[in-house]
Amino acid sequence: MGFGKYVGARVLWAVVVSLIITTVTFLLLAAAPNPAIREAATQAALQGGDPAAAVERERELRGLNQPLYVRYMDFIQSVYTLDWGWSESRSQPVTEALLQALYYTAQYSIPWTILTITLGPLVGVYSAANMYSWRDHVATGFAFFGYAIPNFFFGIILLLIFGVWFEWIPISYDTSVPVFSLENVRQLIMPVFVLVTGSIGATMRVSRNESAEFQNSDFMKTAKAKGVSPLRAYAYHVMRPTLVPLSTTLVGQLLALFIGSSLLVEVVFGIPGLGRLTFNALVSQDTNLVLGSTLVFTFVAVVGNLLEDLVFTVLDPRINYDDR
């Protein structure tokens, strides 16, 4: 199989995976009680009406009296035409809610991701090159500190020091400042710092250990013997093979952080992003919005895995797809 076919097959598989996840989500939703129906019954009872009739009316209104397969087809059609319904907990269309939240999440997650995937391996390779020196210990200590300290706690401490004591950064997040402005940098610098220190540790340690293996390899010795500069030698002969195994862990780790850490960091710094949206949707039983955010994360995971596989071939020419 050539590269083109492989990509085609993987994309097709990604569609199948997303369909399976969507179907499972639908079945779970169909089995769960609908809060809107409960509300209708309560309202009818309070007004001296008939709760049973109100429930029936509500079911009809929401199409819940239709057979399961009809509802399933409607559901699938809505999902793939981006008609994701109305978010009851935010009073706006689900797609609009997700886009709005993504807009704020992206403002810190893009710099965070870029810094993590560039700084992590760099510090790791630097550490490996200076293994067991004081520089290595400082870098390792820094990585472990960031990894060990809970993000929300670190965020609060930093807010206290730089926001309350020194008053260098604002405490509350202002949504009205322009994206590319100094004010936005001021208010996002701490969230990004907290997230980078939280995620860089694992990347840095993996790349340190991986590159330690390559820096004594035959091709590295050859490069040194040929007089290649250390920078070039490390960049081409250590960093590149190091990134291959690293890329398998990166996507998963970053996704996990995307959901978990970003919620707590968003809560501490008051950023109205995707983490808080998902959490609030879950807590308030906003089924449409829960579904919408599930689909977003599904999409990100499927595309992330796809990209990861494709990146292998770029990083390591020895990997090919002829025999797959």
């Binding site: 009872a45 009406g49 809610a97 926001g163 008053e167 509350s172 009205s176 008051g270 109205p272 308030s284």
Partner: protein, 622 residues
């Protein structure tokens, strides 16, 4: 005031952030601060809240926080000042007999174009077609059931109640938002509830004209709301209000920010970046000592109480639910030291709670009329055990004390569960204190369980799985299933309108078992205590998750209060009611925590009174 969600409208999670007056746990934040290390901009009045808003559609909002966000841009009919006097905003209300009420609309109220002037027909249309229409499920629908409304002039309409209610305005039931008739008409014609809920003009308050102190510029979901000053605010020209409103509001803009983390809210208050924030009781002293901040202690009508489950899914320790016996509930109230609870958990920022009214209520019974369980002679192990033994004698099961320990008929120690909201530190502390007191003074082994409030509500506290009576085409009940009939105090009682919060007699329960909870605090409605009928108007009151059957004639007392033709008659009936409730302890009443709010120095307006915030547009810096 019972809204859509029943429990949601009546009950708030206790031990929360508190807050001040109409503003919850507000903080204030500077706007457009583009540099510099200090935030001393006082041109924007912005508050911060801990939770975002579900909707700003005035017809469907039932949240306090969103109500405050709407109030920045849209006034309601009236309010009450610090003396508890009626203050007309959009309309004045008057009555001679409490049955026929005349609403006089203030002239000069304008919607945004193209809707023109606010007239009586807008309100009448809203009431008749939306609240009474039967299709819209508006939050106020229940308040207008059975009320006849008639327009009597361009700026006047009348409402005739089924029975007189002298305290109708105090119930807040006749409180209306101004909504343009033309905006509503298309939805009314189509009976399109979904469309009405999702209408952008309603959600963004685009029709608000001169009807609020500010104009809503943006609602950023999860972020908050931003407003700019309404230069045409109608109260500037009102000659029946104090001069303070002549130039109101005194800020160029307003903002409500959602800051979920308490540390962030307090930090912002400390830096002067915000100028109002709720302070948790344990940190009040610290903030009182800080420069540039002052802390107000605002009494509240929301209580802290221990619910004891008298339904069949309660008293899980053995046979015969002891909570159903009045002396046992009294024993529990006697076993918990209210003063220590207030000192230890609420740091003295709370009042003792003996009956279903706070002390500042005009209907609080004379002290000598109510038993004060949990203080003085009525606190302690001995007196609690005596009452418990009285309850044992009433029970058909053989409960007793084995030394210090309360034991069931099999000789095992009585073990009960106590649920509190997960993550609420004050509540957890209170739970631990209650467990300790019940252990020390009654020999009960109490286990404390943390639970999410929503889960507790849906799985334990309420149920939607209940039988319903049969009705004819007119909606009248024709027959009631046997499951909805029970004998209460020797009389047969039918549950003709079961709700999720009172699904029927004690044998109809939520899915899961529970013994005691402190997840919810309830409103005691001091302005119009008649509203408490939802809790205590007999066994069938619409909010009775605990399955309480009053042992006194509560219904007659409520009826007397409803039919009272003078304030004295009303007070007599209500005082007797509250004396009985103090005796019966339908919920084990513990404390009324004050709201403790920190403000930025120089802010004029906040008062240490339940009405705090009534004149918010007139607040300003010196």
């Amino acid at each position: 005031m019972l809204g859509v969600g029943g429990a949601a409208a009546l009950a708030g999670c206790s031990g929360g952030d508190g807050g001040g007056g109409s503003d919850g746990n507000g903080t204030n934040e500077t706007d457009g601060d583009d540099g510099g290390d200090t935030n001393t901009d006082m041109s924007t009045y912005s508050t911060a809240v801990s939770a975002s808003f579900t909707t700003l559609n005035p017809i469907y909002n039932d949240e306090n926080g969103a109500g405050n966000a709407i109030a920045r841009a849209l006034d309601q009919g009236y309010t009450f000042d610090e003396e508890n006097r009626y203050v007309p905003l959009l309309y004045d209300m008057s009555t001679e007999d409490g049955e026929v009420w005349t609403f006089e609309i203030r002239e000069g109220l304008q919607f945004s174009e193209p809707y023109g002037e606010v007239t009586a027909s807008d309100f009448v249309y809203l009431i008749q077609e939306i609240h009474q229409g039967g299709w819209a499920s508006s939050v106020s629908a229940t308040y207008w059931t059975g009320v006849e409304v008639e327009q009597t002039g361009e700026y006047e309409f009348q409402a005739t109640l089924e029975s007189p209610q002298l305290l109708w305005p105090e119930s807040f039931e006749p409180l209306l938002y101004p909504i343009p008739q033309e905006l509503l008409e298309p939805y009314v014609t189509e009976e399109d509830q979904e469309g009405l809920r999702q209408d952008e003009e309603l959600l963004e308050l685009q029709f608000s004209g001169n009807l609020g102190p500010y104009v809503l510029d943006e609602w950023q979901r999860d972020g908050g709301t931003q407003y700019s000053r309404n230069d045409d605010y109608y109260l500037q020209d009102a000659d029946d209000l104090s001069d303070a409103f002549n130039e109101a509001p005194y800020f160029e803009g307003a903002e409500i920010q959602v800051l979920g983390e308490q540390a962030s809210r307090l930090g912002a208050l400390e830096t002067g970046e915000v100028d109002q924030a709720a302070i948790p009781p344990e940190r009040v002293q610290e903030y009182q000592d800080k420069d540039g901040i002052y802390v107000n202690q605002v009494p509240q009508p929301y209580n802290e109480k221990l619910s004891v489950n008298m339904r069949d899914n309660g008293w899980t320790t053995g046979p015969g639910n002891m909570f159903r016996h009045k002396p046992f509930r009294q024993a529990m109230a006697t076993a918990i030291d209210k003063q220590s609870l207030i000192q230890g958990v609420f740091r003295d920022f709370a009042e003792t709670h003996f009956t279903w009214q706070p002390r500042f209520s005009n209907f609080y019974p004379p002290e000598e009329d109510i038993p004060q369980f949990g203080v003085g002679d009525r606190y302690g192990s001995e007196v609690a055990r005596d009452l418990a033994e009285e309850a044992f004698e009433q029970s058909e099961y053989d409960y007793s004390f084995d030394g210090e320990t309360m034991v069931d008929p099999d000789g095992n120690q009585v073990q009960l569960s106590l649920y509190h909201s997960a993550g609420q530190e004050t509540e957890q502390l209170m739970g631990e204190f209650i467990a300790q007191e019940l252990g020390n003074n009654l020999g009960i082994d109490v286990s404390i369980e943390a639970i999410d409030g929503t889960r507790f509500d849906t799985e334990y506290y309420t149920t939607t799985d209940f039988p319903t009576p049969e009705r004819n085409e007119d909606g009248e009940v024709t027959s009631v299933p046997d499951e909805l009939v029970d004998t209460v105090n020797g009389e047969e009682v039918e549950w003709t309108s079961p709700t999720a919060t009172n699904p029927g007699p004690r044998n109809i329960t939520g899915n899961e078992d529970w013994d005691m909870e402190i997840v919810y605090g309830l409103n005691t409605f001091p302005r119009n205590p008649l509203t408490n009928a939802v809790f205590f108007d007999g066994a069938t009151g619409s909010y009775n998750p605990v399955g309480y059957y009053p042992e006194f004639d509560a219904q007659t007392l409520f009826d007397n209060a409803r039919q009272a033709s003078s304030e004295e008659e009303l007070a007599d009936a209500l005082v007797e009611l509250f004396a009985n409730l103090a005796e019966e302890q339908p919920y084990i009443m513990l404390a009324f925590p004050d709201s403790t709010v920190g403000y930025r120095e120089g802010l004029e307006g906040p008062i240490e009174n339940f009405s705090n915030g009534w004149n918010l547009p007139a607040w300003r810096y010196e």
